[in-house]
Structures are given as structure tokens and as C-alpha cells.
């Protein structure tokens, strides 16, 4: 019980004073700390960790006028207080419903709702079973902060250090992606967040403007064979009748050239990534055939001859 009281008082004292306070000053002002120096420091360290873990902005800064120089702790009110979003009861209920149906793994959504005023209605009436869980990644939150505060993100990706103006993040096809302007490459790039090595470092806010290069299309990821940078090649693919339903999951209706008498279908694709295109075609095993161009037919045949055992 003592700890609950102490954490609340520590927060109250720091919020109230608004100025940096030293550890010894806090020990004096906040009731409930143990008497011995060792035990105090241990308890104080734990309290700081607890507050930071809750998201309390506990900052370390030099105490003005202290001689010799001394660091103190401060909770800036502007960073602590949630501005009142002014939610109407029906808006809070809608948020509650959304948060119960779709959850981000490892995030206490319910605490976010408490901060916004708790459950607006009878929980039993307003909850539906969780129907979707979205995976998370340790770098997701720093990147979200970087996107929302327009801060530069630095990280290692494919064995290279990247410095990026992050424009947006998105979850598609089971993965989180970030799109941003890569300063080293002088171009907009797409990154799969779970392939970032180590930790993303986030710089100071308002460091860039989102450039006009960033189109409004919220879909970050196109189909694989459209993702490359190779010169576009027009291809015609024949898909067996049995596999047409599966293929249409990847294709626009507009891709269909014609349906043949046996029910198989000719479709047209514009390929800018031959590697991804080969992966797509081989997904259908012997139920699909590249009709043209001849060059891609030859490449596929050559590839299959390299499957261990085929040419032996």
C-alpha cells in the first residue's frame, strides 16, 4: 500500500512543482521512502522505472543555479497532460467497440480507454469478440512517433545505415511497413519494419516536410511483380480453369484477356520484377503457363532445369 501512495505522491509533487528537483529533495518531500541511503536509492530507482514504464514523461535536467552542478527530475506538465479531446459518449462507445474488436498485440488498449473516460456503456453490450489481432514490432512505436512528429529516423536495413524522413506506416499482408524518403538514396523507399536491424533512433520533431513525392495512395504494398525497378514487360499468362478462382485473388478483373473454351483464362500482367513474377507463376505449378514473351518462357525453363536432380 505504501508504494501506491508513494508513486502517486511522487507524481503529484513533480507535476505540481514543474521545476527539476534533486533526488535528495524528493526524498524529503515525498513521504514513504525508507530511511537508509541504500534502501532509498533502490526504491527511488524502481519508482522512476515504474513511472517511465507507465508513460509518465520523467525528464532529467540540470537544476538551474546549483553549485556544484546537479541533475534534477522534472515532469513537464505540457507533456504529461492529455488535452481533452472532447469525446461525446457515442464517440467513446465507438472507440471502445473498435478497440475490443481489433487489438494490437501487447498493448493495453483498455488503459487508453480509461484515459479517455472509461467505458461509456455497459461492457457486455458494447463488446464483440476480438476478431483481429495485429502483430506488433519493437520498432513500430518509435516509427509511429517519428511519423507523427515528423522526426528523422535512423536505422540499419539490409546491412546499411539509413537516414529517412518517415512519411507513413501501414499494416498489409501480415506485415508492418514504413514508407519514407531515404536521404542517402535520395528517393522514396519502402521498408518492412520487422527487417530493420536493431533499434530505430528518432530525432527531434518537425525536422522535415512531407514531400509531394508521397502520393495519397494508402496502399503501401503493390503486388510483388509490380514492385521492381526493371523496365516493364508485358506478359500473358494462361491459368487452368481449376486455378482461376485462386489467381483472381491477385489480379484485377481488367487483367483478363479472354476465357478459353476449356475454362482456362488468359491474363495480362505488367512485370517490373521478374523474380517475384517467377514466384507467382510457379505457385500454380503445372496449372499455369507463360504464353509470351518468349524470353520469359525461356528464363523459366532455364530456372527449372536448375532444380537439383532435374538435369542429372
Amino acid at each position: 500500500m505504501q508504494k501506491l501512495e508513494r508513486l502517486l505522491n511522487l507524481t503529484a509533487v513533480l507535476l505540481h512543482s514543474g521545476r527539476p528537483m534533486s533526488a535528495s529533495e524528493l526524498r524529503e518531500r515525498v513521504p514513504g521512502y525508507p530511511d537508509s541511503d541504500v534502501a532509498f536509492h533502490r526504491a527511488f530507482e524502481r519508482d522512476k522505472d515504474d513511472l517511465r514504464e507507465m508513460g509518465v514523461p520523467l525528464e532529467l535536467e540540470e537544476i538551474p543555479g546549483a553549485d556544484p552542478p546537479l541533475d534534477g527530475y522534472r515532469i513537464p506538465r505540457a507533456r504529461y497532460y492529455l488535452p481533452d479531446p472532447g469525446l461525446e459518449p457515442e464517440e467513446l462507445a465507438a472507440l471502445q467497440l473498435a478497440a475490443s474488436a481489433v487489438q494490437l498485440d501487447g498493448v493495453e488498449g483498455v488503459e487508453a480507454l480509461w484515459k479517455l473516460g472509461g467505458s461509456a456503456s455497459d461492457p457486455a453490450a458494447a463488446t464483440i469478440p476480438t476478431v483481429a489481432a495485429i502483430p506488433t514490432d519493437p520498432n513500430l512505436s518509435p516509427l509511429f512517433e517519428a511519423v507523427s512528429r515528423r522526426a528523422i529516423a535512423r536505422f540499419a536495413y539490409r546491412d546499411e545505415e539509413r537516414t529517412v524522413h518517415p512519411y507513413r506506416i501501414g499494416f498489409q499482408r501480415g506485415h508492418w511497413y514504413m514508407r519514407g524518403f531515404d536521404l542517402g538514396r535520395d528517393a522514396v523507399r519502402l521498408y518492412r519494419i520487422d527487417r530493420i536491424d536493431g533499434t530505430v533512433e528518432v530525432g527531434s520533431p518537425n525536422a522535415f516536410e512531407v514531400s509531394d513525392d508521397d502520393d495519397a495512395d494508402p496502399n503501401l504494398v503493390s503486388e510483388g511483380w509490380q514492385l521492381g525497378v526493371e523496365p516493364p514487360v508485358r506478359c500473358v499468362l494462361r491459368v487452368d480453369a481449376s486455378h482461376v478462382p485462386a489467381a483472381m485473388g491477385h489480379l484485377d478483373e481488367g487483367a483478363v484477356i479472354e476465357t478459353l473454351p476449356d475454362g482456362s483464362m488468359l491474363v495480362e500482367l505488367v512485370v517490373t520484377n521478374r523474380y517475384a513474377f517467377r514466384g507467382l507463376v510457379l505457385t500454380y505449378l503445372d496449372h499455369a503457363e507463360i504464353i509470351e514473351p518468349q524470353e520469359l518462357r525461356d528464363e523459366l525453363v532455364e530456372w527449372l532445369r536448375q532444380v537439383p536432380g532435374v538435369s542429372s
Binding site: 501506491l4 507524481t11 503529484a12 512543482s17 462507445a93 498493448v107 480509461w114 498489409q172 525453363v301
Partner: protein, 331 residues
């Protein structure tokens, strides 16, 4: 005020940190809305009556120096009504953390795809308000739970809630075949970028999981079904001990396989290559993997007839392209 834990109030076993989280949100709300009924606070903040009363007992000891009565939180509980004053340092809740804000925005963005759960305009307004309070542009986050035909999702959702059996056209990717099945739809859910239906399959006489983007038709049947035991714990991929296993050597260029598919063991070899062991529930799945990997994968060891899966598939495909002799069996 009684000593902590006295007066018949059960001392909560919830860690202090968790109780602080709740109190930092609860104090501002109760102060702003005083007087409020105890029951209302319990419902709003998902807390039991005894836990709430235990937490409120602490508040008269919370305040700022010099800790005189006029600087301490003033709480009165009378006739099941709470009145709270003088909570000045806590007159607004703590900001949402970045993950919390992201979770709300992600949930709000994806909810439109969830059948029967689209609260429409109030949600849009709520998201805009929360994002503005957080200084965030909600349009910079996009969430797509998976490609799915809205009509398929709606039809199956209706069937599940009405307990009506359906006949679906389904493409079994693993076995590479298309079939019609009668299914009692039990549960619809999205996981890692795909939508799934868990249902009782009449053909298999067992619970099966179907990927919605491989369902190409749904026909509502007249027959109804009784609810079955919860299907929520179903895993999407459940290899059994009796499924055959293969061991593959993968070049460094094929390491993505480890990230993409469940491997039972992964051993590092020289030059970034790895040796992996996987359970194979259907041969065409392995065929596909091996022809896609081409020279980057070789079979080290395989149960049943799986050792020739890659060669067999490559020869069948080569035959489609009219490559002579390619359909002949090995050696």
C-alpha cells in the same frame, strides 16, 4: 482514516504500478464528474467495488507539500456516491503512450472490415479528435486486415450468427485442388494479414480453418446447426506428429523461408546457408516451395516420397512448356 487494508477491505494483490495507471485516469474523471455513483465508476473503469474502495482509501494521503488538509485529495463516500475534490495535480489524465494511440488508430481504421462492427461516423469523429489531441495525423497510418470480398465476409458472418450451414467453393492451396464443402461457420477472424473461417466441415467431420480469399462462392443452406465447443483456440497451422518431415539445405538467398514458414529446427551452415527441418502436411506445398527456390534449396532427407517433390514438379511444369524428355521419371 483506517490503516491500509483495515476495515474489512481486502488488500488488492494487483501490483502497485497497475493500480497507479488506473488511478491516474480515474481521479481526473471522478473529480470532473463529482458526485458520481460507485457503480458507475466500477463499470467505467472495469474495477470491482472492493478494489475501488481500497484504492480510494489511499487518496487522502496523496497531495503536495506541505501536506496540510487543503493540499490533499478530498474524497467522500456517502450512500454509494463518491465526491472528490482538490485533486489539482491530477486534473487531467496522463497522455496516451505512442503504442496506445497507435492501437486505437489501427483499430479504428480496420474496424470497417469487421462485419457488424462498423459504428460509422461517431468512430470517424472520435478518431479525428483523439488524433488531434495527440498531435497525430491519423491518415499517416493505414491498416489492411487482409484481402477479402466484403460479400463473402458478410454472408459468412450472417450464417454464423444465424447458425445456418453454408456450401462453399474452396481452393485447398496445400493439396492444389478445388472442392465444394458444406460447413457450419463457427467463427470469423483476421490474423497476420488474412481472414479465416473456422467451421465444422461436413466432409472432414472435424473443425477446419478456411482462408477467406480462397473461398470463391458461398451458398446459404436451409439447414441449421447447433453451436459447437469454442473454436477460438484453433491454430491455423497444426502439424501433427505423424506428418512427414523434410530436411532442406537453404542457400543464404533462401533464408526468407525461415521467416515465412514454421521450421522445427534451424541450424547454421557455412556462408549464411542453413539446414531446416519442416513438417509437410501436403505434397504440393513442398513442390511449390522447391520449384520457387530452384538451385537455392536441396533436399537432405525426407520421409515418404517427398525427396523427389521438387524434381517431379519441375518436370511436370517443363512438360507444359514442351521441353522434350522432361516428363520422364528420374534416371
Amino acid at each position: 482514516m483506517a490503516a491500509p487494508g483495515a476495515g474489512g477491505v481486502i488488500v488488492s494483490r494487483v501490483p502497485a504500478g497497475d493500480r497507479v495507471r488506473r488511478l491516474l485516469a480515474l481521479i481526473p474523471w471522478v473529480t470532473a464528474n463529482s458526485p458520481v455513483a460507485v457503480d458507475d465508476v466500477c463499470r467505467r473503469f472495469g474495477i470491482s467495488r472492493s478494489a475501488l474502495l481500497a484504492d480510494l482509501e489511499v487518496l487522502p494521503f496523496v497531495g503536495v507539500p506541505p501536506y496540510t488538509p487543503d493540499t490533499m485529495i478530498d474524497v467522500d463516500i456517502d450512500d454509494d456516491v463518491i465526491e472528490m475534490r482538490l485533486a489539482a495535480p491530477f486534473d487531467r489524465p496522463l497522455r496516451l503512450t505512442a503504442p496506445q494511440a497507435l492501437a486505437l488508430i489501427a483499430a479504428g481504421h480496420s474496424i470497417r472490415a469487421v462485419p457488424g462492427a462498423d459504428p460509422g461516423d461517431p468512430l470517424q469523429r472520435a478518431l479525428a479528435k483523439v488524433a488531434a489531441a495527440m498531435g497525430v495525423d491519423p491518415d499517416r497510418v493505414h491498416v489492411d486486415l487482409g484481402d477479402v470480398e466484403r460479400s463473402t465476409l458478410d454472408a459468412l458472418s450472417t450464417a454464423a450468427s444465424d447458425r445456418r450451414s453454408v456450401e462453399i467453393g474452396y481452393f485447398t492451396y496445400g493439396r492444389d485442388e478445388h472442392s465444394q464443402r458444406v460447413v457450419d461457420p463457427l467463427r470469423l477472424y483476421a490474423d497476420r494479414g488474412n481472414w479465416y473461417l473456422a467451421g465444422w466441415c461436413h466432409r472432414s467431420t472435424d473443425v477446419r480453418v478456411f482462408r477467406l480469399d480462397r473461398i470463391d462462392s458461398v451458398r446459404m443452406l436451409d439447414q441449421t446447426f447447433e453451436p459447437r465447443p469454442d473454436a477460438s483456440t484453433l491454430a491455423v497451422f497444426r502439424p501433427s506428429d505423424t506428418d512427414p518431415r523434410v530436411t532442406l539445405d537453404l542457400d543464404a538467398s533462401a533464408r526468407w523461408v525461415i521467416e515465412q514458414y514454421p521450421c522445427e529446427s534451424v541450424d547454421e551452415l557455412a556462408d549464411g546457408a542453413v539446414r531446416v527441418r519442416m513438417a509437410i502436411t501436403a505434397r504440393p506445398w513442398l513442390e511449390r516451395l522447391l520449384v520457387r527456390l530452384g538451385p537455392a534449396a536441396s533436399v537432405v532427407d525426407a520421409d515418404t516420397d517427398l525427396a523427389t517433390a521438387g524434381v517431379d514438379a519441375a518436370r511436370r511444369i517443363l512438360a507444359v512448356y514442351g521441353v522434350p524428355g522432361s516428363s520422364e521419371p528420374a534416371k
